[in-house]
Amino acid sequence: MSRNEENKKFWLSLDDLKNSLSSAKAKENEFADGMTDEFKPEDMPSHSRRKFLALAGASAAFAATACTDYRDKGEIIPYNKKPDDMTIGVANYYASTCTGCSNACGILIKTREGRPIKIDGNPDHPVSKGKICAAGQANILNLYDPERLKEPMSGTNGKFKAISWKEIDNSIIEALNKSSADNKEIAIITNMVLSPTQKKLFDDFKLKYPTTKIYSYELFNDKNRQSAWKRCYGESNFPVISWADANVILSLESDFLGNEGNFVEQIRLFSGKRNVDDAKNFNRLYVAEGGMSLTGMNSDHRLRIHPANQFEFVMSLLNEIIFARKTSLSILNPAFTSIIGKYNLKDFAGKNKISDSILSSLVDDLIANKGKSIVYAGDVLSVEVHIAVNILNEVLGNNALYNKERQNLRQLPISENAEIESLINSMYNGNVGAVIHFDTNPVFHFAPDFGYASALTKVPTVISMCEHENESSFRSNYILPIHHNFEAWGDFQARTGLYSLQQPVIAPLYNTRQKESILHNWINGSAENYSEDGYHQYMMKNWEQNIYPQLMIASGFQSFWFAALQEGIVNYKSPVQALQFNLSSIEAIDYKPSKGIVLVLNKNYTIGDGRFANNGWLQELPHPVSKVTWDNYAAISLNTSKQLGVKIGDMISINMNGKKITIPVMIQPGMADDVVSIELGYGRKFGGTVGTNVGFDGIQFMSKNNSTQFIIHGVSISKAAGKYKFASTQEHHAINEPEVMDFPKKRHIVQEGTVAAFISNPDFFKEGKPKTEDISIVNRVEYKGTKWAMSIDLNKCVGCGICVSACNVENNVPVVGKDQVLVGREMHWLRIDRYFSESPEEPETSNQPILCMHCDDAPCENVCPVVATNHSPDGLNQMVYNRCVGTRYCSNNCPYKVRRFNFFNFRNHFEDGYYHKDSLSLMHNPEVTVRSRGVMEKCTFCIQRIMEARQEAIKNGVPLKGSEVKTACQEACPAEAITFGDAHEKDSPIDYMRNHKLGYHVLEELNIKPNVTYIARLRNKATEVKS
């Protein structure tokens, strides 16, 4: 019946239909006349039915309480045969290698009852030294991600159905054979190849299918650095830099502390030279950059230089150092010296409004620290800048800092744009029989003008091996689900002198295969004989035959192999590289900067090249500079925003040759004018429930023709319609109100000094400080035994956020989602506050990790009506979830705002229970309660680790030693900024830090006796520069 039959009448009886009067009257009363005439309640029997039911119910209830049977307590199920090396309740650790990016860091995987629950760096790994980045920490969520691909699938046009591995193998092997027979190319597209066995596998694959070609790419790469190195030294494997020996560092548009190179190692080495007890040997960091990077935040002097002017800057420095300061190098090619002569530092300073005094102290420092300084250009800069920087380092004798025994190594060179272009051309021409995405996502990563996505349609067989669906798998014929990092075997050689091994720590959760195993099976040419152990055997054989003999090890292969797997690494003596700089060969380099606005495409800090987009922990990790979560943005300077007439969150459109993006704007203090910077990796279209459409995709501005892929000239920006809300964990407005900007300094939340002041008077920090009177309205508790305390050295902390990620994993911290961060409900137990001071153009930044201070007189404890938060005798502010009724008084009364309330059962609330799936319960730390809705939570100083240490101490019959307990954040901190332990343990590191001359407590005037001591940051300002 359709809607327009509204007039249709429904009737009950024919009378009704006739609409007679009697019928209408009958409907007026509920009961017809006389119907209740004979119903007299007083005549009813006294035990009515109702009463009877009530009595029966009551007696049944009483009977139930009185004679209830025992509650069933379920079953307790032991293993059938327990693995020998496992004790229930005791964690096992396995050394492996992280495959999250091309750094191949050594990791140590903590497993409980066979389930990986925590990742840290491998302490025996000479590069990682027990540290790993935030993504490496959170990688565990990818293993248990509910949206991991679980079955192999085939299909077309984005419609897939699951089929068996056998069928898929058969049809693919057939297709590969056909391609080989027809002399059509088989293209394997892989990321950077660091594994020697993987390389051998590719070689064997080529032998079986001779038309195969291997293409390797990285979205973020150091191609420019490499080719500059090749031109200068004739060798493309550039050496590792000994950061720990650099007294002066000049970083040019490089975020070597944030996301460039092996930044975890670089943070460790950099912060190692920021030891307040050795203040005379502090390093000094000059940063010249257009954007505001984490490295810039940690600089002692920061120069705002437009990225297009970096070449001029380096050449002017060369001119100043060689000619004005007479540090000449005779072997320079005369043609080149004449080019240098065209540049002048004074002119440069004038043009770019840079203070002369900073520049002259920079030049002084570089010359005074010849051979002990380093100039480091960022990956985004052009080859020319890198060459000029190489020359500058040679002129200054800084090649002493190149570690000639350790070079960055890759098994295959990264493909040139021309190679990829010719691949795509042959795809268009129908000369490619099969394309294999070897855990890569080129549809998302390749510059759009390659036309890769449409070229794929011309290829008969497109195979995607991936963990999650992605833009490339959507356009494939076969989707092959692959093992996660922790389920697979592998070997890596990222540097000379070191192999790092990868081993599985859990049996495959789903019907997946290791990507190398899949290729290995195809090499065998038969779908029948697949063995899960195949690649493992292949790798062992490769080691036994090819690698082990070269290592000249006395022990037999079997014992060598198991020892190597246990340690995760194999060290060997690599030959020293003779670096012969070919200065005279550099005749003329030139670089014409173009005028106008420049778009800089940066690497993001959390989600890699987009591969971690479906990882809620990483999406929610605050950006270290802007503190924005779940987004990227176009960062511009205050001046540029004024010219455009935009405020934070306004949309702007960026145009370039017909490419256009509309993206919200973030006004970033410290940005150079006329620079827009966008972080790549966001804006995934097929990134899973969590990662799809988070942020904006800046890759579209990349081009196959650009020599500098990441610095885009000739863009225009204009204001666009619309407003956007950023989910920021820290307020970001009011940057241009001076009184607000200096607020944290005025309240002594951030306390800083300079190295010079500290050296001339080590007591300067505490002198003249008003003494706070120690009064208390309650009786002070005397702490006898153990008293837990922490200290954070702000000289070392760079604000990278790795501690936050580690804390999330260790303490089962939920993901809340952008909508909840917007209303301030993020659940991180540890946050890193970022403060700007001075002017919005040239700000000084300060980082400060804030967590529960476990105050002796904690204000939260006094106001809890149910004593759910109280103090333990060893000085911990304890939070008892079972007692908490959720009044939130404690949070209201906490001066540090470190308490977090579960407004929802966030696992259930986020994306309709996305993180409430069964697979996720395997991930949770079994020693930490998974909190539910309605309770308060906060940092516990990792009570579970304290209790574990206590258990060990009791087992061994020794007293508990506080310095042996390591909190998760402390263990993860690459800068070793965090110290934890028993304040009453004499001569322990924490005892020393608590009484340090630079130690202070945040808001100590409140007299609540917080137990986190901050070591004030000393800025290593050049003395002659007036700030």
């Binding site: 009483f62 309480t65 009185a66 004679c67 209830t68 049977d69 025992y70 509650r71 069933d72 307590k73 379920g74 079953e75 307790i76 199920i77 032991p78 293993y79 059938n80 045969k81 327990k82 004790t87 229930i88 309740g89 005791v90 109280n870 333990s872 005798p873 060893d874 911990l876 304890q878 008892v880 979830y881 079972n882 007692r883 020693e927 930490v928 309660t929 516990t940 009570i943 579970q944 209790m947 206590r950 258990q951 009791i954 087992k955 019959g957």
Partner: protein, 190 residues
């Protein structure tokens, strides 16, 4: 004043009803207490294993089977492979042992009924208690005398604290060696 039905209800019926309810509640509270705490709970197990025979008559040490109890939080239930250390040879023709052997060879786990249980939010640690020399029977009763294991003591927070706070009275044989147990929240809850 006229006596009404309401008067009767308020003055007689209501107090009597309330009294009866309270009385029965109090009675049932105390009568059913042990059952609520699980004392006396002795479920039928999938295999009729006798602690009296193994731990009592044959004097096998608890930790021979409950291995790992001194290393971690959990006492661990022995795996069939531990049973089979002896029962590959001993009494292998008996019906219960045949059941055990069937579990062992089929690779299936034995679904033992759980008797002692502390809630998830309490992180009881066996190893610290065992390593302090506290005998298992202080909490689990004299298992060596039980053919069928049943719960003897209550496992409520009150019972834990009762011993933690009065350790020297409850465990006089250890009074010189152990301190009082911790009674702060974090000792068990995190």
């Amino acid at each position: 004043m006229k006596k009404t039905v309401l008067d009767y209800t308020l003055k007689v019926r209501l107090p009597v009803t309330v009294f009866v309810i309270i009385l029965s509640f109090i009675l049932t509270f105390f009568v059913s207490r042990s059952e609520r705490d699980g004392i006396g709970y002795a479920p039928e197990q999938p295999i009729k294993f006798s602690h009296k025979l193994h731990a009592g008559t044959m004097k096998i040490d608890c930790q021979y089977c409950h291995a790992g109890v001194e290393k971690g939080r959990f006492a661990t239930i022995p795996t069939p492979s531990i049973c089979m250390n002896c029962h590959k040879i001993a009494r292998k023709d008996k019906p219960e042992i045949l059941k055990l052997a069937a579990y062992f060879s089929s690779g299936k786990a034995i679904p033992w009924k759980r008797i002692h249980r502390v809630p998830d939010y309490a992180y009881f640690n066996h190893s610290v208690h065992v390593n302090k020399g506290i005998d298992c029977k202080n909490c689990h009763g004299d298992v060596a005398k039980m053919d069928v294991v049943s719960q003897v003591h209550s496992f409520t927070m009150g019972s834990c604290l009762n011993c933690h706070r009065n350790a020297h009275q409850r465990l006089p044989e250890l009074a010189r060696q152990i301190k009082l147990g911790p009674d702060n929240c974090n000792a068990c809850h995190r």
